[in-house]
């Protein structure tokens, strides 16, 4: 009997969706738009955070220049010293001859115009932590400690800015997520309340023929679940498609800053999260709408 009733209630929800086609369509459209905005904003925030977080890794290098025509021995000594420093991941010597050869290949016009190699020996120092770059570069600039170093360049300021942006995005994104979640819940709740209100006569009749509150509630909850899930599916497809278009655009830019940023969320995970969120919001919105409506009767 329980399975019979359950099958009836599921069938009832299906019939209601089909027979109240226009209202269902309106509810589905509203839920889809709300979920697209919520999902799109959250995913964008997440990807921006991932992107910004990955940027300092590209700035964890310090270039150490030795004076022009410095003795190679000094460069080797410095290389050895820096390699043994705990904060340093790796250090490489790029001699002025190697640098000249690369320049000849990359910018032949420029090298032809210059008679003598003006370049300096350079040590490329890769740091273990991007956040230490600025501090370590400052240390290398101390002439008393490192008298053989002519000039030190690092991306300390850029690193600091990016880390600040990353923090800001997390805060704004978190706030937006909470705000949009509540707004979406409110929209879905109101939409389902409208569908419930449109069927108030039906609900009163159900009550008068002896339907239990659970019996009245379940088909409406299932309708909410359907609208939430379907809205989630459509919103998921829209968001992933928009993501693909953005990704194609970013790739076409060929900026050295914007490479392939690895993500923790695969497209299928993003899709599943949106559908599950839609289902959850659909059920919760229905529950709140029905509870309020049944209380008013």
């Amino acid at each position: 009997m329980i399975f019979g009733s359950l099958a009836f209630l599921i069938g009832e929800a299906g019939r209601n969706i089909r027979r109240n086609g226009l209202m269902s369509l309106a509810a589905l459209g509203t839920v889809t738009i709300a979920l697209t905005v919520l999902g799109g904003t959250l995913w964008t925030t997440f990807r921006m955070t991932e992107f910004v977080r990955s940027q300092p890794e590209k700035f964890n290098r310090i270039d150490v220049f030795l004076p022009p025509k410095a003795e190679r021995e000094k460069a080797q000594d410095l290389l050895e010293k820096l390699s043994k420093t705990p904060e340093v991941k790796a250090a490489t010597l790029v001699t002025r001859e190697e640098a000249w050869r690369m320049m000849e290949q990359n910018q032949p016009v420029l090298t032809q115009a210059v008679e003598e190699n003006p370049l300096m020996d350079k040590l490329e120092v890769e740091m273990k932590e991007a956040s230490k770059v600025s501090q370590f570069a400052q240390l290398l600039r101390d002439k008393a400690e490192y008298p053989d170093i002519d000039r030190v360049t690092d991306a300390g300021e850029e690193v600091r800015n990016l880390l600040n942006i990353s923090r800001l995005i997390r805060i704004i994104g978190g706030g937006l997520a909470i705000g949009l979640f509540i707004a979406t819940l409110f929209i879905i709740h109101n939409t389902i309340r409208l569908t419930v209100f449109a069927r108030r006569k039906e609900i009163i009749i159900m009550q008068m023929v002896g339907a239990t509150p659970g019996f009245i509630r379940l088909p409406l909850l299932l309708e909410g679940l359907f609208h939430g899930m379907m809205g989630g599916v459509i919103a998921g497809v829209l968001i992933l498609y928009a993501g693909k278009l953005v990704s194609q655009f970013v790739t076409s830019v060929h900026s050295p800053l914007i490479g392939e940023v690895p993500t923790l969320l695969s497209p299928s995970a993003v899709f599943n999260i949106i559908v599950v969120t839609g289902a959850f919001l659909g059920i919760l919105g229905s529950h709140l709408a029905i509870r309020r409506f049944l209380r008013q009767l």
């Binding site: 009997m1 329980i2 009163i204």
Partner: protein, 238 residues
């Protein structure tokens, strides 16, 4: 079976819909409730269907105190009574068969029971020839017959009808009232609230009349208008 003792209903705006009503209705009776608009007819029926709760007095139906009926027991109580509305109250998106079956489905009845009972009650109200029609494809009289079939689906001991002929022409109204009479003859207690002189005078059954929330007349075989020789107050009956 039904007993009201000192029943009063006062709404939040201080409107007194019913005042000190004493009434007893036995099993198997057919009762017309008459009175002008706002006299208290519908309020009485709403109290019996437990849509409203009295502010004073007690109402017992089949030994159940309606004022203190727990909400969780309300669906079970409603399944034992049948309710017929003036506007028929059919679900517009369901067919005739589905509307009647619905009253059984909410009780968790088996498919076999539904398949047996729905044709039976549709036959009883002479609507078995249009099971697949939707309400908007039926005349007013046919819709009311379907509503009565739905009310009978769970074999109620009490049938409450609030202005069942209010939206029907005189001829159709007589047909509906004859149907209700037939149901009463089969053993169901029937209470009909109505403005319709013709149907009350046609059947000549018990009539109780309300005025400004008070029960002013109770005749065993009455007509819509009071006749001095037939007037018998509730106190005299008691």
């Amino acid at each position: 079976m039904i007993e009201l003792r000192g029943v009063g209903v006062t709404y939040s705006n201080a409107w007194r819909a019913l005042s000190n009503v004493q009434l007893k209705i036995d099993k198997g009776e057919f009762v017309f409730v008459v009175g002008s608009t706002g006299a208290g007819k519908s309020t009485l029926l709403k109290l019996l269907s437990r849509e409203e709760v009295s502010t004073d007095g007690t109402i017992t139906v089949n030994g159940q105190d309606l004022k203190h009926l727990p909400l969780r027991d309300l669906p079970a109580y409603r399944r034992k009574i049948g309710i017929v509305f003036q506007d028929f109250g059919l679900l517009p998106n369901k067919t005739v068969y589905e509307n009647v079956a619905f009253a059984l489905q909410v009780t968790g009845a088996t498919r076999q029971t539904i398949r047996r009972q729905v044709p039976h009650v549709l036959d009883l109200v002479a609507m078995s020839h249009r099971p697949d029609a939707f309400p908007n494809q039926l005349s007013g009289g046919e819709q009311q017959r379907v509503a009565i079939a739905r009310a009978l689906a769970n074999e109620p001991f009490l049938l409450l009808a609030d202005e069942p002929t209010g939206n029907l022409d005189p001829e159709t109204s007589l047909g509906i009232i004859q149907l209700l009479n037939h149901i009463n003859v089969r053993g169901t207690t029937v209470i009909v609230a109505t403005h319709d002189h013709a149907v009350v005078d046609f059947l000549q059954r018990r009539v109780i009349a309300f005025e400004q929330g008070g029960l002013v007349r109770d005749e065993l075989a009455g007509s819509y208008r009071a006749t001095e020789t037939q007037t018998e107050t509730q106190e005299e009956r008691a």
